[in-house]
C-alpha cells in the first residue's frame, strides 16, 4: 500500500495570496522567461542590433544637419536613442505575451495555486534584462563615438531611469498583448503608438525648431520628459523637474495598466 495523502476535506487552506508568495511566484516566472531567452537568443536581436545601428545611423545622418557636427550632436542624441531603443524593446513584451498566452502551459498556470498576476509580472521582470542590454550597448556606442558624461553617478541614475520607465510603459503593450487576438495586431498597433511617441518627442531634434502645434504635443509626450531628464543627468549630472515628472508619469501608467492587463488576461481562457 502506498503512502496516503491528507484527504481534501481535512485540509485547512487560505483563500488569499500573500505578498511574499506573489513576489516568489513572480521571480520564478521571471526565471522561466530568462531560461526561454537563453534557449532562443534570437529574442535579443532587437536589443543588440538596434542600439548599435541607430546610434551610428542617427549620429552620422543628422549630426551635421542638426548640430553642425557629430560631437555636438552626441549629447542630444545619446539620451534620445537610449530612451527610444528601450521603449522599442518594451514593445516586444506585448507581442511575446500574446504568443505565450496561447500556449497550453498558461492553462496550467491558471489552474495552479499561485498569484494570479505572476504569469504577467514574470515576463515583464525578465525583460528588464533586455532593457539593460539595450541601455548598456547604447552607452558603449556613445562612448566609442566620443560621448562623455558629466559624472558617472548621473550616467548610472540616467540609465536606471530609462530602464525603470521602459518597464512601466511596457504595461501598455502588455495590455495590448492580453487584449488583442493575434501577435501581428499587437505588433502593428504597438508600432503605430510607438512611432509618433518616439519621433514626436525631444529625442532626436531640439523642440524649438518645431511648429507651435507640434511643440504642444511634444511637450505633453511622456517620452520628452524621460529624454530631457536623461539629458540633464548625462550632461549636467543633476536631477531636475523632468526626472520627477518621468517617475510620476511612469508610475501612473503602471497603476492604471497593470490592473487592466490582469483583468484582460484572466478573462481570456
Amino acid at each position: 500500500m502506498t503512502a496516503q495523502i491528507v484527504p481534501g476535506g481535512q485540509r485547512r487552506l487560505k483563500n488569499r495570496v500573500t505578498l511574499r508568495m506573489t513576489i516568489s511566484n513572480s521571480l520564478t516566472m521571471a526565471y522561466r522567461n530568462l531560461l526561454l531567452i537563453r534557449r532562443t537568443p534570437q529574442q535579443l536581436f532587437d536589443v543588440t542590433i538596434q542600439p548599435i545601428l541607430f546610434t551610428l545611423m542617427f549620429v552620422f545622418l543628422f549630426g551635421g544637419a542638426i548640430s553642425g557636427s557629430v560631437s555636438g550632436y552626441l549629447p542630444i542624441i545619446i539620451p534620445g536613442i537610449l530612451a527610444q531603443t528601450a521603449l522599442t524593446a518594451s514593445m516586444a513584451t506585448g507581442v511575446q505575451l500574446r504568443e505565450d498566452m496561447d500556449k497550453g502551459v498558461f492553462y496550467r498556470f491558471k489552474s495552479m495555486p499561485i498569484a494570479r498576476i505572476a504569469p504577467l509580472t514574470g515576463p515583464l521582470l525578465a525583460d528588464i534584462v533586455r532593457y539593460a542590454i539595450a541601455t548598456s550597448l547604447t552607452f558603449v556606442m556613445g562612448y566609442l563615438l566620443g560621448f562623455r558624461w558629466a559624472s558617472l553617478d548621473g550616467a548610472v541614475v540616467g540609465g536606471v531611469l530609462v530602464v525603470f520607465c521602459s518597464w512601466c510603459i511596457s504595461w501598455i503593450f502588455a495590455l495590448l498583448g492580453a487584449t488583442l487576438k493575434t501577435s501581428q495586431t499587437v505588433q502593428g498597433i504597438s508600432a503605430s503608438i510607438l512611432f509618433p511617441l518616439g519621433f514626436l518627442s525631444g529625442a532626436f531634434v531640439p523642440t524649438s525648431t518645431l511648429p507651435w502645434w507640434l511643440q504642444d504635443f511634444v511637450n505633453v509626450n511622456p517620452l520628452t520628459y524621460i529624454v530631457s531628464a536623461t539629458r540633464q543627468l548625462f550632461n549636467q549630472g543633476t536631477i531636475g523637474n523632468d526626472f520627477w515628472l518621468s517617475l510620476i508619469v511612469s508610475i501612473v501608467v503602471v497603476v492604471i495598466f497593470a490592473p487592466l492587463t490582469l483583468r484582460a488576461y484572466l478573462r481570456k481562457t
Binding site: 481534501g8 483563500n15 522561466r32 502551459v105 492553462y107 495552479m112
Partner: protein, 336 residues
Amino acid sequence: MMVQQSEIQDKNSSMEESTLAVEAHGLVKVFGDNRAVDGVNLSIPSGCIYALLGPNGAGKTTIINMLNTLLKPDGGNAKVFGHDVVREAQVVRQLISLTGQSAAVDERLSASENLRIFAMLLGLSRSDASKRATELLDEFGLADAANRTLDKYSGGMRRKLDLASSLIVQAPLIFLDEPTTGLDPRTRMQMWESIRRLVSSGSTILLTTQYLDEADQLADRIALIDHGRVVAEGTPRELKAAIGRATLHLQLADEKDAAEAIRVTQNVLNVKASTPERTLVTAPMADPDRLTDLLVSLREAKIHLATVSVQEPTLDEVFLALTGDGKQTEKGATTP
C-alpha cells in the same frame, strides 16, 4: 470491478456529505448561442474514479474547466471538497491538479526545466524542486530525455510529462481531460496503471473520455454527457443493465417495414427500439430468451430480414438508447 464498487459504496455510506470531492448543482456555461453546459448536477464521492463519458463537443471539457476554476459558470454552483469554485477559487486550486487535452507544458523548455519551474511555483525550494523533478522523470521513464526540449518529444512523452507535472504534489482531486486520447495501447495501459495508483494513495480522479471501454475498465461511476447535460449516471454495471447488455441489430430487407418492425420489437422485447439507419432497427437486448419470440412475431407480421446480429454496446447505442434518436428527452437517468 464488483469488489471495488461495493468498497466505494461502503465508504459512501459512512461518509458525511461534506466529504464529497465534487458537488455541482445546475451548472451552466453559454458560449454565444451555444449552451455548452446546460444544467449539470454531479456528486462525486472522494476516493473514486469518476468518468465523464461522451462524444466530442458534448461539454465534458467545459464542465471540467468550471470545476478547476479556469471558467466561471454562467449559472449554478459547484463545490470542491466543500469549497465554492468561484468564491474560494484559490482554496480550490490548492486541492486540484489538471492534466489537459493539450499538454500544458512549455515546448521551448526541457522536461526537467518544466518540472522544476512548476515545483518552484508550488513552493518547493530550488534544491527540492530539482530533486522532485528527477524523481518524477525516473518514475515516468523520461530520465533519458530529461534535458531535451519538448519540441523533440513524441505526443506520448509529452502526455506523460504533462501527467508528471500534475503530480509534483499529489492533489486530493485530479482532473484528467481525455488522458489517453491518441496514445498507443501500451502507453494507455501505463496511464491506467498510474491512475489506479493515485486512487489507492487517496486521490479522487475525475476524468473525461470518449471511450466506453476506458470508462468501463477504469471508472467506479460514470456520467454520460450529451449536449451539455448528464443523460445518465451510475456504475458501469448499472448503466449497462439500463441499456441491455448487448444490442440486437435487425437489418430489414425492405425499408418500408421499419415502422412496423419497431412496433413489433418494442411489443415483444418491452424495450425502446430505434432506427439509426433506414433499414436498420436496433434494440437493447436485456433478455436473450425472448429473441425467438421476436423472430416469430416478425415472420407473422411478414417482415423480412436481411441479417440478424447481436453486438456489444457501443457508445453510439448507449446514447441513442438514452436520448431517443438524438432527441433531447429527460429520460433514462438511472439512480443508484
